[in-house]
Subunit: 131 residues, 2 copies
């Protein structure tokens, strides 16, 4: 049983392929495939190109979201892999993206979001506990 | 001068109004207004309702993104405020959302994403540095 509501991996990827970091369709495809490889169900995606360079985008999944922001001029990408439930493995998405962007280095922080053991659960939305 | 490419505030809001946490249009409106109050330019939004309860959504802004996932049964919301540049103040978005969701408690972590002082900058995407 998980003791947190969500799992969040904060990823910093260094020395990526700089051309790939400026390729909006390529980044979007990599993010969708990373989500699918991790076992997530994609709900929606939104990606856009920065001026003059860089890509920003989010894949909303049934189990939370994956986000990426790239700085081709630094060979750098900041990625967030936020999942909930036990069916998705965000580390699979991490491995996929690290390879897809040809990152030479990467740092990660794994955070548990929403510590269940310190929260009061209620089966009803309008429960008297919170009124 | 900022020494990082992005600023990311990870927010956990406790004892929120549980009805508000299940209201998709209400959450979307609050997130958009929080983004605008912080000085961000909204590019796109995507929000959806979980079954049986909960809201998940992202506001993509020109300066990165704001994301939220709610668990009404716990009165809990996990919020991410990721901004870049110097014109947006993510703490304004934080204050707006805390009030909009009637949160009694909140914890935050401020992270600098992409430490510029340890990266090699290149003005060209296909620079020889990375080849």
């Amino acid at each position: 049983m998980m003791n947190s509501l969500g799992m969040h991996i904060l990823v910093e990827l260094f020395e990526c392929d700089r051309d790939k970091l400026d390729d909006v369709p390529g980044i979007e495809e990599a993010m969708i495939k990373a989500a699918e490889a991790s076992g997530a169900t994609v709900v929606n995606t939104t990606f856009h190109h920065f001026s003059p360079i860089g890509v920003s985008g989010v894949v909303v999944i049934q189990e939370s979201h994956l986000a990426i922001h790239t700085w081709p001029e630094y060979g750098f990408a900041a990625v967030d892999l936020f999942t909930c439930g036990t069916t998705v493995d965000p580390w699979v998405a991490y491995e996929y993206l690290k390879k897809a962007l040809n990152a030479d280095y990467g740092s990660t922080i794994e955070m548990r979001r929403g510590e269940k053991r310190l929260m009061k659960e209620s089966s009803l939305v309008s429960d008297s506990i919170v009124k």
